[in-house]
Symmetry: C2
Subunit: 318 residues, 2 copies
Amino acid sequence: MVDVPDLVEQARQGKPRAVARLISLVEGASPQLREVMAALAPLTGGAYVVGLTGSPGVGKSTSTSALVTAYRKIGKRVGVLAVDPSSPFSGGALLGDRVRMSDHASDPGVYIRSMATRGHLGGLAWSAPQAIRVLDAAGCEVILVETVGVGQSEVEIASQADTSVVLLAPGMGDGIQAAKAGILEIGDVYVVNKADRDGADATVRELNHMLGLGEARAAGDWRPPIVKTIAARAQGVDEVVEALEKHRAWMEERGVLAERRRARAAHEVETIAVTALRERIGDLRGDRRLGALAERIARGELDPYAAADELIAGITKG
Amino acid sequence: MVDVPDLVEQARQGKPRAVARLISLVEGASPQLREVMAALAPLTGGAYVVGLTGSPGVGKSTSTSALVTAYRKIGKRVGVLAVDPSSPFSGGALLGDRVRMSDHASDPGVYIRSMATRGHLGGLAWSAPQAIRVLDAAGCEVILVETVGVGQSEVEIASQADTSVVLLAPGMGDGIQAAKAGILEIGDVYVVNKADRDGADATVRELNHMLGLGEARAAGDWRPPIVKTIAARAQGVDEVVEALEKHRAWMEERGVLAERRRARAAHEVETIAVTALRERIGDLRGDRRLGALAERIARGELDPYAAADELIAGITKG
C-alpha cells in the first residue's frame, strides 16, 4: 500500500516521481484511487487547463513545447498531458516524436506525461481528467493537454479544457479535416502554424470564413482569434499565450470559467458513474446469467434489448 | 408509427427500402426499436459476418466491392455495412469513395449501407450490431462489415465478426500501423492488396514473421492465411472467398462459430445495458443533484469518485 498523504505532499512540493506515481495510481484504477482522489480534491482548482488539438502534421508537439517555453519565461509551472486515444495497445510507446520535449526534461517547473487508452473505449475520457487533477494538485499553474489526431475522443478530451486551441497548417486540406472532426465547434483560439509556408494566408482567410468571423456578434461574445505561428522558431508563440490569457480573463469576467468547470465536473462524474456501472455489468461476464442470455440470443429466441433489460433489472432500482 | 411486422416482412422479401427503413429505426434509437429487435430475433443467425479492416489507402472499398462480385458469382445474397467511426459529425456524408460500389447499385441481391457515429462515443459499438441483425434477418447470406481506418473502435467492430479480414498494402509502413492498432491480434485472414506493387513479397514476409506463421502450432489450430490480391483487377479475390469459406468450415467443425456468436451476443447485451444505464445517468444532466455535486467538486469540497457514488446510489440496488 502506498502512503497517499505522504505521496500527495511530495507531489505538492513538485517532486516529479511523486507526480508520476500518483498519475499511475489514477490511470491504473488502483484500489487506492478513491483515497488519492479524496486527498487531491481540496488542492485542485488552481490550474488553467488548455487543450490543443489538430490533425497529424500541423506541429502539435512543437507548438506544445514552444508554449511550455513561453509559459516558463513568465514563471509559470507547467504540466503537459499528451494523450493518444487512437493507440489502444501502445501504452504510449508509439506516441510519436516526444524528443523535442527533451528541451524541458531537466526543468523542475515542467511535468510531462504521455497517456494512451490501454484498450477500452472511453478509457481516456475517464482517466485524462484524473491525471489533470493530479497535475493541478501538484501545483501546475498551466496544464497543456495535447491530443494526437482529430477523432471523436480527441474532440471530447479537448472540449473538457478551460480553453481549447485548434491548430492548423497551410495546405493540408485542413478545411475538410476540421469540419469532419467538428473541431471548428470547439476552438476558443485558432493557431495557423508553419505560417512561413505557402498558403498560410489562404488558410487564415478560409478559417475566418468558416468561423463566420466577419459576421456581427453580440457585444461581449468571444470572437476566436486566429494566430499565425512558426512554432519551430518560436515565432508567434507569445501571441498565442496572450490570446489564451485574454480568453481566460474574458471567461473569468463573465463567470464562464466557473460555468465550464462545473460542466466539466458534471461530465466527469457522469463518466465515472457510467464506468462504474459498466464494470458492474462487466463483472457479470463470467456469470451464468449473461451466458444463458447470450445463448438464447444466438438461437434467435431472445433479442439483445430484452436481454439487456433482464441484466439491468438485476442491478438497478425499479 | 411504423407497421413493424409489415416492414420486417417486406425486408424478408428483399425490398431495399424496407431494409433501409429498419436500419434507420435501429440506428436512430426509435421508440419502436424494441419492437423491431423482437421481430428480427427469430429471423437471425443465417448470415456469415465478415469484418474488413486496414489502414486508409490499402484499398478497402475496392476489395469490398470485389468480394461482393465474387460472392454474387456464387449466388450469395450480400449485405455491406461501411462504418466510419472516426467521423462523428459527417453522418456518412464524407465516407470517401463509395462510387465503386455503384457497380452493385442495381443488383437486388446486394444491400449497401454506410454508417457514421453521430456524435457519441460507443455509438457504433452499439448500433453496428443492430444493423447487422437487420441485414441478417433480411436474408443476407454474407455480410461484409468494412471499417474505415484502424483505430480502436474499428478493431472492436471488426473483432465482432465471424471472420476478420485484415487488409494491408505494400510500402505503407503497415508493420507499424498494424502493430499500433492491434490488428495483428484480430485477423483470421490477411490480404496483401495491390500485390503488383513493389514490396508486396516483403510485406508478406514481414507479416509471416510478425504473425509467427513459421512457428509450430498445435494440430487443429487455425493458421491465418495470407492472400495476395489486386482487387482493382479482381485478381486473387476468389482465393479470399476460398480462405473465408475454409475459416468458416474450420469454425463450424470445432464449435468456434457458435462460441464466437455467443460471445458476440453477450458483448452486444453488455453494450446495450451500459448504454441504457448511461442514458439513465444522462437523464440526470438537468437534475439539481448532479448540478450540486458538480458545484462541490469545482469548489474542491468533493472528489468526482465520491460524487459518482452518490449518483449511482440513486439508481442501483445496494
